[in-house]
Amino acid sequence: MIESAAVTDLAQRITDLRVDEFRGDVRVVLPSTELFAALEVLKQQHGFDLLVDMTCVDYALYRDATDRFGLVYLLANTQTNERLTVRTFLNEPQLVVRSVVALWPGANWLEREIWDMFGITFDGHPDHRRILLPQEFSAHPLRKDYPLQGRGERHHFPVITRGTPT
């Protein structure tokens, strides 16, 4: 039995909310259209002031998966040490979700990384570009259809030998 005022409040606001618990983590799944409103409620009314992490999972090769991308937001309350995991699912071609930089400024780089690695666009992000890979890189590497060793980008450089004039 999950006793959390935040989860009960969310369940009243959102009709198709799925709640479950695994190994002590409370997880909540919502549709992506209600995501920003729910996070705002959690931050402002239930005190989840720390965005611990934001990440994405590509479920393309996962057994029994129904949606391709799952966005995960890990929240924590610094006063009561309560944790909550909020998940939402996205499918191609609608890989857009509203950015939470307005709620937590620390999400700026986390969202850039998700764009870089998975290709999910964040609507309203102030600086939407790649962060870890070179700007001219064209693929999104953490998707399941990108090979581990890449497609030859890592060796596409000129060779310098001793005889090369400097």
């Binding site: 990440t55 610094t78 995991t85 700026n108 986390l110 962060i131 870890l132 070179p134």
Partner: protein, 409 residues
């Protein structure tokens, strides 16, 4: 530097300002070895920094993609290479998350051993962080003292598991090698000798006018900004956020020990330095209590649980041990991995280090996401440095303790 900026924001930053006294300086990615591959593009008015844009990714090695191809015991070698100043802490964090996913309860001796190595790794990390802070502002002797103590800790690790550095010490359900009495003796010798050296190191810098002038009031971070930017660890504690996972969500054996969590409210570079030094003393207390009360008994979860490798006498003398060893090494049928996802976090020396693992029933993780403290801390840099001078850039960067491998993964 390398390729031309391919989008408007980088182009704007690189172009000179209309005010002709503002100039752009490229800082990195190759600069003195303490902070490896970071790049900052600074806009300066004489010596005052007007704006800073960090550019990262110069050490991005695809750790998370590798996590989808290596099994849980193999991936611990990769976690070593994330925060490479304190590899043991990363190993402990990874297996904390893996064992949470699999629902394995580790033995008391293993909990104490992992606590001891995690705290020794914390001392090692803070020694290098404070040493690098001192080195960047010019105190070279402090750095050498810190490095000598790190060598003593590396000796302890080498006696324990064979590698002084990048140890890959933990395994699912236990550790790779049990601690012998010689290791306990070496830890006790370290505990006897370290407080005196810490006192010597303190006397070098605590009342040093130059050090205090360079660090005090520089890079101030307020409590609200720290929480809004997802900071954790010594950086948040130096700004007044009293959150420490060892006390708030006790894991391993931390609930059995008495220790304090040092916090300060000023949030400048000097506060971050002092919090790290105070945390080293608290870690000494924890290691002392742990070593005195180390429980005896098995260190790995038993063979019948089928998740930890049996020890060699079992392998050579009992049929169950041989079969178990064969299965675990060759086919990994011993692991019971649920098809579910979990987030396991620990208090690493740099902040909250957590792993979000998605398991899919096989012995290879489906997704292994590392939540890196350095990544969220480096995003703080522009707001900390605005208005300060060029020489403060080095002080602030040192106080944030950015490890490039954890930043870029």
């Amino acid at each position: 530097m390398t390729t031309a900026p391919a989008n408007q924001k980088t182009a704007d930053m690189a172009r000179p300002d209309e005010r002709d006294y503002v100039w752009t300086l490229n800082f990195g990615p190759q600069h003195p070895a303490t902070h490896t591959t970071l790049r900052l593009v600074l806009k300066l008015d004489g010596e005052r920094v007007i704006d800073a844009m960090p550019d990262i990714g110069y050490l991005h090695s695809g750790f998370e993609k590798l996590g989808e191809h290596l099994d849980y015991n193999q991936y611990v070698t990769i976690t070593d290479r994330m925060n490479y100043i304190s590899p043991m802490a990363n190993n402990v964090a990874w297996h904390h998350a893996v064992e949470k996913l699999m629902g394995i309860e580790i033995t008391p001796r293993c909990r104490y051993l992992r606590t001891i190595v995690a705290e020794l790794a914390r001392i090692s990390d803070h020694l290098l962080a404070t040493g690098a802070m001192g080195l960047d502002v010019g105190a070279f002797t402090f750095f050498l003292y810190a490095f000598y103590q790190r060598e003593v800790i590396n000796d302890v690790f080498e006696t324990l598991c064979g590698a002084r550095f990048t140890n890959s010490y933990t395994r699912t359900g236990g550790v790779s090698q049990d601690a012998t009495p010689l290791v306990v003796e070496k830890i006790r010798a370290f505990l006897r000798g370290f407080p005196k050296t810490l006192q010597d190191m303190r006397q070098l810098l605590y009342r040093n006018r130059i050090f205090i002038d360079r660090m005090q009031g520089v890079g101030r971070l307020s409590r609200e900004e720290a929480i809004a930017s997802c900071a954790s660890g010594p950086i948040a504690r130096a700004s007044g956020v009293t959150r420490d996972l060892r006390r708030d969500e006790p894991y391993l054996a931390y609930a059995d020990f008495e220790f304090e969590v040092p916090c300060m409210t000023s949030g400048d570079c000097l506060a971050r330095f002092l919090v790290r030094v105070a945390e080293m003393e608290e870690s000494l207390k924890i290691v002392d209590q742990a070593v005195e009360n180390l429980p005896s008994g098995p260190v790995n979860v038993g063979v019948d649980e089928r998740t930890a490798l049996p020890d060699k006498t079992q392998v050579y003398q009992s049929i169950e041990g041989t079969i178990s060893h064969f299965e675990l090494i060759m086919t990994n049928r011993g692991f019971e991995v649920p098809c579910n996802e979990v987030y396991g976090a620990t208090e690493a020396p740099n902040g909250e280090l957590g792993f979000y693992i998605v398991g899919d029933g096989s012995n290879v993780a489906y997704r292994a996401r590392c939540r890196p403290p350095s990544f969220v801390h480096f995003a703080l840099f522009p707001q900390l440095i605005r208005g300060h001078t060029l020489s403060d850039v080095v002080a602030v960067l040192g106080s944030l303790n950015i490890i490039a491998a954890e930043l870029d993964r």
